[in-house]
Every structure is written in structure tokens, then in C-alpha cells.
């Protein structure tokens, strides 16, 4: 079957084994050209977050005394055979109080995405408007916004986050605010630079001569030019926001404990590393895969939409 397909698809010079090789090469090139793997990972993530209730095999907070520190089922069946009282089969094992790691991770995906989505949207709105205003009007406004952004950019973010969290306490809302505080700056910088280059283009000037109002020019002429940079910055921001959220949660200064955030799970699992490595290994792996996919996808988007943006990192 496989050879038939190869024969149909391979070029005129290729023969037999070489033809089989070329389809692998073709797949390889396809995977290099299109971000298939990252998109699959991200779609799985989004779907898991939406359908968390339906997908999770167990409850995320149901504790089980006999079933605590249960290893992943496929790794250690004997453990389950020795303990007939443990009825459930846990695919990724359980933590120190017998909660299912997989179900907690699935609910954690929802928490992470919710927090990051709200933070990113508010950061985007603030950042894009400030960037637009300061790039368009220039002068004193621009000077004030730019200096403020410079100083904000130059502050170690972790320190600000810790001070805010100790002052206002830990909650989902504070977490969103803290993350929005880191998200907006990148938007201001990039949007401002882009607006700066757009506002003196001929089509904008002509529209101004024709008597268009500022708002009209913003919507009709400036905004379309901003979409690609906003898309790229947003994609690349999501990854770093997820990492920041996980780090703060891990440090015990982010999302408070019973909520199944990935960072919290790693922190809890760390105390029981000797007996149950899986409860901190798998959430970390999930963070890694998601952030990696976002970075890949963001890079791809950047190269695709605008090669001038290659400098952005």
C-alpha cells in the first residue's frame, strides 16, 4: 500500500527505496513549512479548556486516601493489582491527597487560559491605544508615554508583582491585573513604532487633505496596518504570560492553592518528589509544550506576516 502511494507521488528520477524516502522528506518539509505540531498542541489545549468538565476522567478535587501517590496506570500496573481498594485507573497518577493529576491538569488549562486571555485582552487594549495616541500625536504626549514605558520596561517585573500581591492579597482577579501590567508595554512600543511609520505615508496624508477626521483615518488607514504587528505581539506574549503565571503560582504568590493551576500543582508535587514524581513532572511538561508551541507559532506568524518584524523577540 505504502509503495503504491510513493510510486504515484515520487518524481521521475526516483526509484524504489529512494521514493519511499522522498515521501518522508515531503512530510518533513510540510511540517517545517507549516506549524502543524504547534497548532495541534494549541487546539488540544483550547478544546481541553472549553470542555474540561466533559473531558476530565475524574473530579479535580475528589481526594482518596487509599489512592494517594498512585503511579500512572500504564507505568506500574502492579501497584493497582496490589491495592484492590483503588477502583479507578489514573492515567497520569494521583497527588499526595489522591487527586487525579490528569483531571487537575485539564481544569488547570481552563484556569490558565482564562487568566491569560483576560490579562492579554486588557493589556492589548491599553497598550494599543497608548501606542496609537503617542505615535500619532507625537510631541509631549509621546515623550511622557515613551519615558514611562522605558522605566516600566526597566523594572524587574517579579518585584513589582510580589509587592502588588502582598498588598492586595492573592486571587484570580489580582493575578489577571498583575499579568496585564506586564502585557501592555510590548504593545505600546511596537504599535507606536508602526504608527510612526504609517502616519506619514501618502495615503494617510491624502486622506487628511481630503478632509478626513482623525477617527476616520485611524479606523480606515492606520488600524489595517497594525493588525499584523498586534497579532504577532499577542501570540508571543501568551507564552511569556503563561510562564509568568506559572512562576508566580509556583512561588506561592499567584493563584491560591486549591485551584488546580499548573504552577501550584508543580509546587505541591515538589514536596513529594521521592514518592510521586509524576504529580510535578506532567504539569511542567504541559507548560513546556504549550509555551514551545506558542513560540514556534509566533515566530512562524511573524515571518509570514512581515519579514521586517524579524528583529522582534
Amino acid at each position: 500500500m505504502a509503495t503504491e502511494i510513493t510510486d504515484t507521488y515520487s518524481g521521475p528520477q526516483s526509484r524504489g527505496a529512494k521514493g519511499a524516502f522522498s515521501i518522508h522528506l515531503r512530510v518533513f518539509h510540510f511540517l517545517r513549512r507549516w506549524p502543524v505540531v504547534p497548532l495541534v498542541v494549541l487546539s488540544v489545549l483550547v478544546l481541553t479548556a472549553i470542555f474540561a468538565e466533559q473531558l476530565a476522567p475524574h473530579s479535580w478535587r475528589q481526594q482518596s486516601l487509599p489512592g494517594r501517590h498512585a503511579p500512572p496506570y500504564w507505568l506500574d500496573r502492579e501497584w493497582y493489582e496490589d491495592r484492590p481498594r483503588v477502583q479507578d485507573k489514573y492515567i497520569l497518577g494521583t497527588d499526595h491527597v489522591g487527586r487525579d493529576v490528569l483531571s487537575r491538569m485539564i481544569h488547570g488549562a481552563r484556569i490558565s487560559l482564562l487568566v491569560v486571555a483576560v490579562a492579554l485582552t486588557s493589556g492589548l487594549l491599553i497598550g494599543v491605544s497608548l501606542g496609537l495616541i503617542s505615535g500619532w500625536f507625537g510631541g509631549v504626549t509621546d515623550e511622557i508615554v515613551s519615558r514611562f514605558v522605558d522605566i516600566w520596561y526597566a523594572l524587574p517585573f517579579l518585584l513589582i508583582a510580589l509587592v502588588v500581591i502582598i498588598l492586595f492579597g492573592q486571587s484570580l482577579l489580582i493575578m489577571m491585573i498583575v499579568l496585564a501590567m506586564t502585557a501592555w508595554v510590548t504593545f505600546v512600543r511596537n504599535v507606536r513604532a508602526e504608527v510612526y511609520s504609517i502616519k506619514d505615508r501618502d495615503y494617510v496624508l491624502l486622506s487628511k487633505i481630503a478632509g478626513a477626521g482623525t477617527l476616520h483615518m485611524w479606523i480606515k488607514h492606520v488600524m489595517p496596518g497594525l493588525i499584523s504587528i498586534i497579532a504577532v505581539v499577542a501570540t508571543l506574549s501568551v507564552g511569556s504570560l503563561i510562564l509568568t503565571e506559572a512562576t508566580l503560582s509556583f512561588l506561592g504568590a499567584g493563584i491560591p492553592a486549591p485551584t488546580p493551576a499548573w504552577g501550584v500543582m508543580i509546587a505541591e508535587g515538589r514536596e513529594h518528589l521521592r514518592t510521586a514524581w509524576w504529580s510535578s513532572f506532567f504539569p511542567g511538561l504541559a507548560i513546556f509544550l504549550v509555551v514551545m508551541s506558542l513560540n514556534f507559532f509566533g515566530d512562524w506568524l511573524r515571518d509570514r506576516l512581515d519579514s521586517r518584524l524579524r528583529q522582534l523577540s
Binding site: L162, L167, L273, R274, G284, I287, F288, N295, Q311
Partner: protein, 311 residues
């Protein structure tokens, strides 16, 4: 050049004062400091006594005067007292500064000594296996949470192989205790250095003057290290602020993971205990170190880039 450095120095000083102002305002927002000495009911103190304490602590002065006094205390090294330990904050910071400094220097050395040459290698041998290894490592280092790297290091090297200790610094200088924390902190920084060095090396390698140097027969080593590398260094130095900020995060995380007795773990303990004076003290120390390092980076920038030196 003098003008440039002077401007940066002023910017640094203004930023330090700004940072202390922010910290001061936040610490006042945390609540009336009087509550620390007497709660609103006053522990049976009458209004006169409370007023006396208030004026002895200068809390009846306007906020800006309070700030001036607070800043003057700061300049003398008086950072207040820890609420939990009831000891001077400056003393607690001093005890722990050494451990953090050792870890930071070790990690920074590893990150620079490995990261920058790997970036050069990856750029010079673009498209080869070296380049792929380098880029994969950079992606890995940027996508993996620092704390998870540390925990997995403990799992592999302490729990399973039993080669390295899983926590603490040990007595005196024990190299064993340094390996895991250093690698944990330096992985992300290494990846950052690698990525930036690689991209700026590629950019410079593509420029006209490098082509000219090659065309006139300058040796390969000289082209790479003298003509390209020196110009390519400008970019890593300009983004050093972001690298330092990430470095502070990395050190704090590693100190928490490895129970390292440094400033980062002190800061987090203060967060968990709601010990505000200790938190503000550590934050200030980190901010000042950070600004000072940025100023040093600016000076390096002048050394590396002659265009600024002669302008």
C-alpha cells in the same frame, strides 16, 4: 561620551529615587503604620499617648516630609525592623547577601561562558548540526519554566542517581551544592544569550565591511572575532536590562527550589509571612543592584561601540 555617561548616571539616580518613592508610597498604602504600634482601639492608650507616638514617629508630618526622613534613614542603612523576626531588616539582608552573590556570579559566568560562544558557533556554522543543536537548546531554555528545570534536576541527580545534594548550601564552600542551582539559573540566561548573540552575529556577518574584510583576505578567525563578534556584542549589551530582570527572577526561583539561604528566598518568605518591611528591603536591594548593573552595561556599551566613544 562623557555626556552620554553623565546622562545615564542621572537617569540611574532618578530611577533609584523613583523606585524608593514607589516602594514608600506602597508601604504607606499597606496601612497606617500606627496600627503596628497601636490598633484603632489603642490598647488602652489615651489619645494623648497615641499623638505622642505619632509625632515621635513623625507620622503627623506631611507625606513628602515623611518620605524625606525615610529616605535619610535608608541612606544610613536603616530599613526598619522585620515584623516576624523583630530584627533590623538591614542585618537580615546582610547575612544573606553573600549566598545570593555567590550563586549569581557562578550562574552568570556559566551562562556567558557557554551561551555566547554557542551563539557564535551557531551563527558561524549556520544550517549545520551545531546550529540545530544550538537553536533547539535556545527554544528549550526559553520555553521551560526555571523552577521545573530545578525540580527535574533534583529528581534525576539527587533522587535517582544520588550524585548531588537536593537542597541547601552546606557549610563553607561546597562545589556539589552549587552545581544544580547554578545550572538551573543559567539555563534560561544561556538560552537568551545564545539567541541574541546568534541573531546579531548573523546580521553583522551579512554586512558589507565583513564581506570586504573577507575579500581582502583577512583570516577567518580574525573576521569572526575581531570584525564580527565585537560589533555583534552591541545587541546583547543593549538588551542586558531584560536579561538582568530575568536573571533576578531565575535566582529567586532557584533559591526557593533549593532552599538556598539567599535574598530571593528571604523575599519570598516575607511574602508568605506578610512581612512588609523585609519585602520592601529586599526589593530595594534588588532594584539598586539591578540599576547599578544596567549602568555598568551602559559603560560596556561605550567600550564596545566606538561610535559613542568618539561622538
Amino acid at each position: 561620551m562623557r555626556k552620554f555617561l553623565l546622562r545615564r548616571l542621572i537617569f540611574t539616580l532618578v530611577s533609584v529615587v523613583g523606585a524608593t518613592l514607589i516602594v514608600f508610597v506602597l508601604s504607606r498604602m499597606a496601612g497606617d503604620p500606627m496600627v503596628l504600634y497601636a490598633d484603632p482601639e489603642g490598647y488602652g492608650m489615651d489619645a494623648e499617648q497615641i499623638a505622642a507616638i505619632r509625632s515621635s514617629l513623625r507620622l503627623d508630618e506631611p507625606l513628602i516630609i515623611q518620605y524625606v526622613y525615610w529616605f535619610a534613614g535608608l541612606a544610613r542603612g536603616d530599613l526598619g525592623r522585620s515584623i516576624v523576626a523583630n530584627r533590623p531588616v538591614s542585618q537580615m539582608l546582610w547575612e544573606r547577601a553573600g549566598a545570593t552573590a555567590q550563586l549569581a556570579i557562578a550562574a552568570w559566568l556559566v551562562a556567558t561562558v557557554v551561551g555566547i560562544p554557542l551563539g557564535v558557533l551557531s551563527a558561524v556554522k549556520r544550517g549545520t548540526a551545531w546550529d540545530y543543536i544550538g537553536r533547539t537548546f535556545a527554544l528549550f531554555g526559553q520555553a521551560t519554566p526555571t523552577f521545573w528545570i530545578g525540580i527535574m534536576g533534583i529528581l534525576i541527580f539527587s533522587v535517582y542517581l544520588g550524585w548531588l545534594p537536593s537542597a541547601l548550601r552546606g557549610d563553607g564552600f561546597r562545589i556539589n551544592h552549587f552545581i544544580l542551582p547554578t545550572l538551573t539559573v543559567s539555563t534560561a540566561a544561556m538560552a537568551g544569550y545564545l539567541r541574541i548573540t546568534r541573531s546579531s552575529m548573523l546580521e553583522v556577518l551579512d554586512s558589507e565591511f565583513v564581506k570586504l574584510a573577507r575579500a581582502k583576505g583577512v583570516s577567518r578567525v580574525k573576521v569572526i572575532w575581531k570584525h564580527t563578534f565585537r560589533n555583534a556584542l552591541i545587541q546583547p549589551i543593549t538588551v542586558s536590562a531584560i536579561l538582568f530582570a530575568n536573571f533576578i527572577t531565575g535566582i529567586t526561583v532557584a533559591e526557593v527550589v533549593f532552599a538556598w539561604p539567599g535574598l530571593g528566598s528571604l523575599m519570598l518568605t516575607a511574602v508568605w509571612n506578610n512581612d512588609f518591611p523585609v519585602l520592601t528591603g529586599t526589593v530595594l536591594v534588588f532594584v539598586v543592584i539591578y540599576m547599578a548593573l544596567n549602568f555598568v552595561a551602559d559603560m560596556l556599551y561605550v567600550v564596545v561601540d566606538p561610535r559613542i566613544r568618539y561622538s
